[in-house]
């Protein structure tokens, strides 16, 4: 045999997951200079992962990155296998046997819980479920959020938390022109939410949101972002952090927050309160959530490694709707190791490793399932470039006879699996655009898998 990557012996790679991490891994492989055969395997009949189901519907410019993904998918060396779930329709072992290498890019769609009393109460939700609901994610389509409540509390200090605040506070006519799911648009049009609290454990310097997102909170008609000047007081370590490379957005964020703090205490607009140094400690209510108990936090430790510890001071807020966004976790794939603490795959330079630290030959990870839920869309491109560089360095060691695509097709056909290829997705996409046209929307997404499959053959 010879090293895979030639005309007669192409490098056969499966990529699991068709979000940004998966597509950029495919792009890097296509540009490697080797002869490659890439199969991009997606659990749903539709591609693009969190660009479709995570990016907020009013961020159309970010969503336009799908044009890049579509170009990648049109390369004849790549094939899209939609509606194929690894761990269900075929096993990890079967996949490993078919390909020289497998790149896992399944993301991190599961949420972390707060671990506090009352979290089980009706009215307390994962922010990610709310995002999935308004973005038409099939698993979230039947969820219900009680928007008759007047006070919403959003817990978290990242862009998801801000997205959720913004969608709750957006004028409904602004959302009508987006691809927001129809069921969410109907519910939000009747929303009675008139007060929002955004609550975070750490300070303004440690917050993870980007200035662009934070600034958008200041541009919501009828809403006033409020933050107390006290909350923006920095300890010495936080002042040092403003100059550290890992805190590149902090100074801009602080400027924006200081602008919010300067406006009059109450100018008649609906309040969007930003709380820093406050951690939720309990939720209460009967039969549903009515209040949230917060405890003040003090930061201590060296710059870049501060942690929050409770001071004992308590604050209680009314809370009819609670959305938590305190981290995301990947889902284990049966047959692969999993790091339960990080909620991600254990790896070294992108190579999967078992609990003993031994490399699983031919298995790689990229994106959020590799490094956890951090960064923005482009961060995943750099990550996938790194993972593919690792894979390419291993190519000589991956030599074997592998059935690749032909083997996958045979296996799926034997199981009677209904596969949606990229042409099928384009048919679904055109149908969604057509459905949206009636209402002046860029698209009306199908939110049921059955409807997606029906559209693919229409």
């Amino acid at each position: 045999m010879a090293i895979p990557g030639t005309e007669s012996h192409p490098l056969r790679v499966a990529i699991v997951g068709s979000g940004p991490g998966g597509f950029y891994a495919a792009e890097a492989l296509l540009e490697s200079g080797l002869q490659v055969e890439i199969d991009l395997i997606e659990r749903l009949p539709v591609p693009y992962g969190l660009v479709r189901f995570g990016v907020a519907p009013d961020h159309a410019k970010l969503k336009s990155v799908t044009a890049v993904f579509a170009r990648i998918a049109e390369d004849p060396r790549l094939r899209f296998f939609g509606n194929v779930e690894v761990g269900h329709d075929l096993s990890v072992q079967q996949l490993g046997a078919l390909y020289h290498a497998v790149v896992v890019a399944t993301g991190a769609a599961g949420d972390r819980r707060l671990g506090i009393a009352g979290e089980h109460l009706p009215g307390v939700h994962a922010a990610g479920d709310f995002v999935g609901w308004y973005n038409g994610r099939p698993e979230c389509a039947d969820l219900e959020f009680d928007l008759d409540q007047e006070v919403a509390v959003v817990i978290g200090q990242g862009n998801v938390a801000i997205d959720v605040c913004r969608i709750l506070a957006s004028p409904i006519d602004a959302l009508r022109r987006t691809d927001i799911a129809a069921h969410a648009l109907d519910a939000l049009a009747r929303s009675r939410v008139r007060e929002i609290h955004l609550v975070g454990r750490r300070g303004p310097v440690q917050a993870k949101f980007t200035p662009k997102e934070l600034r958008e909170l200041g541009a919501l008609p009828g809403w006033q972002p409020r933050v107390t000047p006290d909350a923006l007081q920095l300890n010495v370590a936080s002042q040092t952090e403003l100059t550290l490379p890992g805190f590149v957005h902090a100074a801009r964020n602080l400027d924006i927050l200081r602008g919010f703090a300067q406006s009059p205490a109450d100018d008649g607009r609906r309040p969007l309160h930003l709380h820093f140094h406050r951690a939720p400690v309990a939720l209460s209510g009967e039969p549903r959530v009515e209040r949230i108990e917060l405890e003040a936090q003090a930061l201590s430790g060296d710059a870049g490694a501060q942690s929050a510890t409770p001071t004992g001071e308590r604050l209680s807020l009314p809370a009819g709707l609670v959305l938590r966004s305190v981290g995301y976790r990947g889902t284990p794939l049966p047959g692969l190791p999993f790091d339960l603490v990080r909620g991600a795959l254990p790896h070294r330079d992108g190579r999967l490793v078992d609990t003993a630290g031994k490399v699983l030959c031919g298995w790689y990870a990229t994106g959020w399932i590799k490094r956890g839920p951090s960064g923005v869309i482009g961060t995943n491109r750099a990550d996938s470039v790194d993972t593919v560089a690792t894979l390419l360095a291993d190519v000589a060691a991956l030599d074997a006879v592998k059935a690749g695509r032909a083997g996958l097709c045979a296996l799926l056909a034997a199981g009677g699996q209904r596969v949606v290829d990229f042409t099928g997705w384009k048919v679904i996409e055109r149908a969604e655009i057509e459905r949206g046209r009636r209402d002046g929307k860029p698209a009306e997404k199908f939110v049921r898998i059955d409807d997606m499959l029906a559209a693919a053959t229409a």
């Binding site: 890049v68 200035p211 590149v248 960064g375 923005v376 482009g378 961060t379 995943n380 491109r381 470039v385």
Partner: protein, 101 residues
């Protein structure tokens, strides 16, 4: 809105920004890179990626730096797209130290 490569990008050409760009909006010449404002989708991934802090959002561009908007837009027409990271220039580390980075 777009993102803008400013004066700090000169004589180092680390190009970490390029690897993190989801839409290939960077263009390159002998000494630096530029962003095509027509292509950038404002994801901000390049801002923390740049070792010399050269990239800012248009919104954050100070008044005395506004000319960088035009420079980036024009250079993007003139120079080729860059999609993959290059080895930094020999002068890169010296440039980084000079900028106090």
């Amino acid at each position: 809105m777009t993102h803008v490569v400013t004066d700090n990008c000169r004589g180092c050409r680390y190009t970490d920004c390029v690897a993190s760009c989801p839409v290939a909006c960077f263009h390159v010449n002998e000494v630096r890179v530029y962003i095509n404002p027509e292509v950038c989708i404002d994801c901000s991934a390049c801002i923390p990626a740049c070792p010399v802090g050269a990239i800012v959002e248009e919104f954050d561009l100070p008044d005395d730096q506004q000319h960088w908007m035009r420079i980036n837009a024009e250079a993007a027409q003139r120079y080729p797209v860059i999609r993959a990271r290059l080895a930094p220039l020999d002068s890169a580390e010296a440039r980084r130290r000079q900028l106090g980075r």
